[in-house]
């Protein structure tokens, strides 16, 4: 039987996994809202972000309470602190999905994404869904192999992000400044979403192996 501390920790871990599920669903629906100019779906993503924020707050309160009651040290202490950092990453991922939905809402009834970029943005949405699902598996199973696989999804996202900028920057862009500004922001939101998923995975790897790759190389090159 697990002791009370580890039962609490299991509960925190479950809530983190639930946050990955909510963030993934939000980004998936935000992508649909964006590409199909679906106002109702955009609104639902924007409204649902409150739930992720509330879950984060609950999780953080639970963590602080756990620190106060159980006074963990060593690895146990690091697990609680790391959980709080992961909840911060996941809450931010929810924000980024909300941002994508807001761009969709702003351009309704048009789509903010020009048809020439549609397939690239669709792919960004799919990579976002995959990467956050993997982050959930990594948390649930302390799964180092999946954590490494997830880094490759991030490479894929960075490649798509560069594709978007190359389309904008090659001197041939003829679809207007507004579409360029929208694409710049949306592409950055997806790329940051993936960065935070990587950060979550690396924190789990750190707990398991003691090694942490810094975030420094994640958000390095935007252009």
């Amino acid at each position: 039987m697990r002791d009370s501390f580890h039962e609490d920790l299991d509960k925190i871990s479950e809530q983190l996994v639930e946050m990955t599920r909510l963030a993934g669903s939000a980004m998936s629906r935000a992508t649909t809202a964006l590409l199909d100019a679906d106002l109702k779906m955009a609104e639902s993503v924007i409204a649902a972000d409150e739930k992720i924020d509330a879950l984060r707050q609950e999780l953080d309160e639970r963590s602080i309470d756990l620190l106060a009651r159980q006074q963990p040290v060593a690895t146990d202490l690091r697990m609680v602190v790391t959980a709080m950092r992961m909840s911060s990453d996941l809450e931010r991922m929810g924000d980024l999905a909300r941002h994508v939905a807001k761009v969709a809402r702003l351009r309704y009834p048009d789509s903010a994404i020009h048809p020439v970029m549609r397939s690239t943005v669709l792919e960004m949405g799919q990579v976002a869904e995959r990467i956050v699902a993997k982050a959930g598996s990594v948390i649930a199973g302390k799964d180092i192999a999946t954590a490494l696989a997830l880094e490759r999804d991030d490479d894929e996202m960075d490649r798509l992000h560069r594709d978007i900028f190359n389309m904008l920057m090659d001197g041939e862009w003829k679809y207007g400044t507004e579409a360029a500004v929208d694409a710049t922001l949306v592409s950055r939101y997806y790329e940051r979403f993936a960065d935070h998923a990587v950060s979550v995975a690396r924190r789990v790897v750190y707990l398991v192996t003691g090694e942490y790759r810094s975030e420094g190389d994640l958000d390095g090159e935007e252009l």
Copy 2:
């Protein structure tokens, strides 16, 4: 005489203030690098970010060590947890200054900022300097009045951010897509920099008053 716990906490507080100083200096120099197309200065900002990252790591290790050794509860516990959150905000502010410097470097020997936007971006740099200096005062003096004043600087930053978008979006932009993309990203970096400063100030207010205004309304409207 202060006890050992509060001495450690004072040391953490000093390091946070030092981080505000470094982040402020980085953004100030990044603004100069950007507006004057100063490659050497851009490189120095990019290189100096390591120092902020290292300070953050040191501060976090010190905080975890403090939790393990002293097992604080109630307000003392919250102060340590909050310090770790502030160090995360400040580290991110350093990243954002580095991003601005990287845009400057990318466009060298040109300036990434078109002359029509120069005065607006200059003002964003000045607001950024002011707001992070205030964040330092808020931390050092647990100063609620300055924390409130800082929110007005953030309103000013949001206004400047909107000015940039209005210039890009009014249908009259004739300086090319590359300049529009650069301005979009740079403007967002300044705006996020100010958001993190507000977040730092609100965390101090929370420690002093027990009331925390959520981050939800900070990064709401980009466009």
